[in-house]
């Protein structure tokens, strides 16, 4: 085929491709972008049709941060997400390690149960979790908020188990031969090798917990402990149709995660991929 007639067609195809992709990106992000823009608009034209905030103002953000405990809610969210992440890593690592290191006959059954736990929807567990937390007097505390969210750690266990199994047994055997205890082997040999997998688990768990809505709304509805996702709704019921500050608060609720995402988008996407494929 003569080269001169291929070129223009290839260009046309490339233009179409970019057009389709740009439109899709735009379509998927449009509500967020529009809300972001509107959050900078002064109260009177929040609903205006202008795509850019003209004139732009920080009034909504000042109001949201000043009149409502948005900063406190963000801190609560961070504490909760960090707590859940650390516990997930600890429980996941220890469980995975014992699965590999202390293999026993009941192994398959226990592993099967863990796999079942993976597909049980968290919403199906809220009633017993709620009751336990209420009985233990841990409603509206960080303990009540954080600990039951460990129920989803099956994923961490299975993922880390795969990674520990990939470590050559001779390496662990060598450590044992050198007189290392289990704890030492785990800390000095296994942990450094698992850094990538642990990072992936941490990323996914942190983001998921940051965005969690159902559990905080049930168990810790007060502003002292609840997370920003629930706070947004509180904000809304108290403010009625005052939409500017609400949008500003919504942007504050999601921007920390977005900022982190843009710093390491490749790594974060990979983390979701690993955990998604199990």
């Amino acid at each position: 085929m003569p080269g001169h007639d291929r070129r223009p067609r290839a260009t046309a195809a490339a233009v179409t491709r970019h057009a389709v992709l740009i439109l899709t990106v735009f379509g998927m992000l449009f509500p967020m972008l529009w809300a972001l823009s509107a959050s900078f608009k002064p109260g009177s034209d929040v609903y205006g049709a202008s795509p850019l905030p003209m004139p732009a103002t920080l009034e909504n953000y000042r109001y949201a941060l000043g009149e409502f405990p948005v900063a406190r809610l963000l801190l609560n969210t961070f504490v909760t997400a960090a707590g859940v992440t650390v516990l997930h890593l600890a429980a996941g690592l220890l469980a995975a390690w014992s699965f590999v290191r202390f293999a026993h006959r009941g192994q398959r059954v226990v592993l099967g149960l863990v796999t079942v736990a993976l597909v049980v929807p968290p919403q199906a567990l809220i009633i017993p979790h709620f009751l336990m937390v209420a009985r233990l007097g841990q409603r509206d505390t960080f303990v009540g908020l954080i600990v039951p969210q460990l129920a989803t750690c099956a994923l961490a266990v299975l993922l880390l188990r795969e990674h520990i199994r990939a470590i050559p047994p001779t390496l662990i055997g060598a450590a044992t031969l050198d007189g290392a205890t289990h704890a030492e082997t785990l800390r000095r040999v296994v942990l450094p090798l698992l850094r990538g997998a642990l990072g992936a688990v941490a990323i996914v768990v942190f983001i998921t917990t940051w965005n969690e809505y159902l559990w905080p709304v049930l168990v810790a509805p007060s502003p002292e402990h609840t997370t920003i996702q629930v706070g947004l709704q509180m904000f809304e019921t108290q403010e009625g149709p005052e939409h500017g500050p609400l949008l500003a608060a919504a942007m504050l609720a999601t921007m920390p995660v977005v900022a982190v995402y843009f710093l390491a988008s490749r790594r974060i996407a990979d983390a979701f991929l690993q955990s998604g494929l199990r």
Binding site: A35, Y47, V119, I126, P128, L232, Q233, H243, F272
Partner: protein, 263 residues
């Protein structure tokens, strides 16, 4: 386990007064219209989102995979954003643009001379609006999973076809898409499992199941039984019913998934 025991009791969550009622809670679930209705609506959500869990992300992933490079990486990271965006913030943004009076969607439609709609307030459109809002997350995550499947395809067969003069479209149609069948089966299955869970937040924030229960789903029903009506037993029975349904689905679909599993 505890859920299973609870489902046999009649109990309002807080009082010491509870009694064993056997299977009454299950009978109530099946006989009163709410729960079957919620299951039907959940099925509709699944149907509405199925294309966004399969065809759309597949097309996007193939487009990005065909031309690797900076531009594709940028598109990919932007398209993945809905997965990390806070669902409550996303829902509020949607409600803002769908506002029946001043939302930009209706302003635009009005400007074009098209009929305006109360998208979330009309029983005929609310379920579809919620589905579309939730679909973004499916597109984003599944695009990534399709991308991973594409990356592990055997490039030699594709090159051979190219040498034989097959067009890119033919290669996609006859070589690439068939090899993605396993992924598509898996994505459809995950769509069934996650449709109810992922719509939950959007429903809770945007419509609370209304108008006229048109946006109800199985999980919202469970939540309503337990924490709005304080009827722990029926709520737990709903939870058990959902898990049993999912397990049956999992078992029934096992041969299908195995047949298409990638070697």
């Amino acid at each position: 386990m505890f859920t299973g025991v609870l489902s046999l009791l009649e109990w309002d969550l807080t009082s010491p007064d509870r009694s064993f009622v056997g299977l009454d809670n299950y009978r109530r679930l099946a006989e009163e219209p709410e729960f079957p209705h919620a299951l039907t609506r959940t099925g509709l959500y699944v149907l509405a989102m199925l294309p966004f869990a399969t065809v759309v992300p597949m097309a996007l992933a193939v487009m990005l995979w065909k031309r690797p490079g900076r531009a594709s990486d940028t598109y990919r990271s932007l398209l993945f954003l809905p997965v990390v965006l806070a669902p409550v913030a996303t829902a509020l943004a949607w409600r803002f643009i769908l506002d029946p009076l001043g939302g930009v969607v209706n302003l635009t439609l009005g400007g074009l001379g098209l009929p305006e709609q109360d998208w979330l307030g009309d029983p005929d459109t609310a379920l579809w609006a919620i589905s579309l809002i939730t679909a973004g997350k499916f597109v984003a995550l599944n695009m990534l999973l399709y991308g991973a499947a594409l990356a592990s395809l055997d490039g030699r067969a594709l090159d051979a076809a190219r040498v034989d003069g097959a067009t890119e479209w033919e290669i996609t149609r006859h070589l690439v898409v068939p090899q993605l069948t396993g992924t598509t089966v898996l994505m459809s299955f995950l769509c069934v499992v996650f449709a109810g869970q992922w719509t939950f937040t959007n429903i809770a924030v945007l419509t609370q199941g209304g108008p006229d229960n048109s946006t109800d789903n199985a999980y919202l029903r469970l939540y309503t039984y337990a924490f709005v009506f304080f009827d722990a037993g029926t709520g737990a029975a709903a939870a058990v019913a959902i898990v049993v349904l999912l397990t049956v689905l999992f078992a029934v679909s096992a041969p299908l998934r195995r047949r298409h599993a990638r070697p």
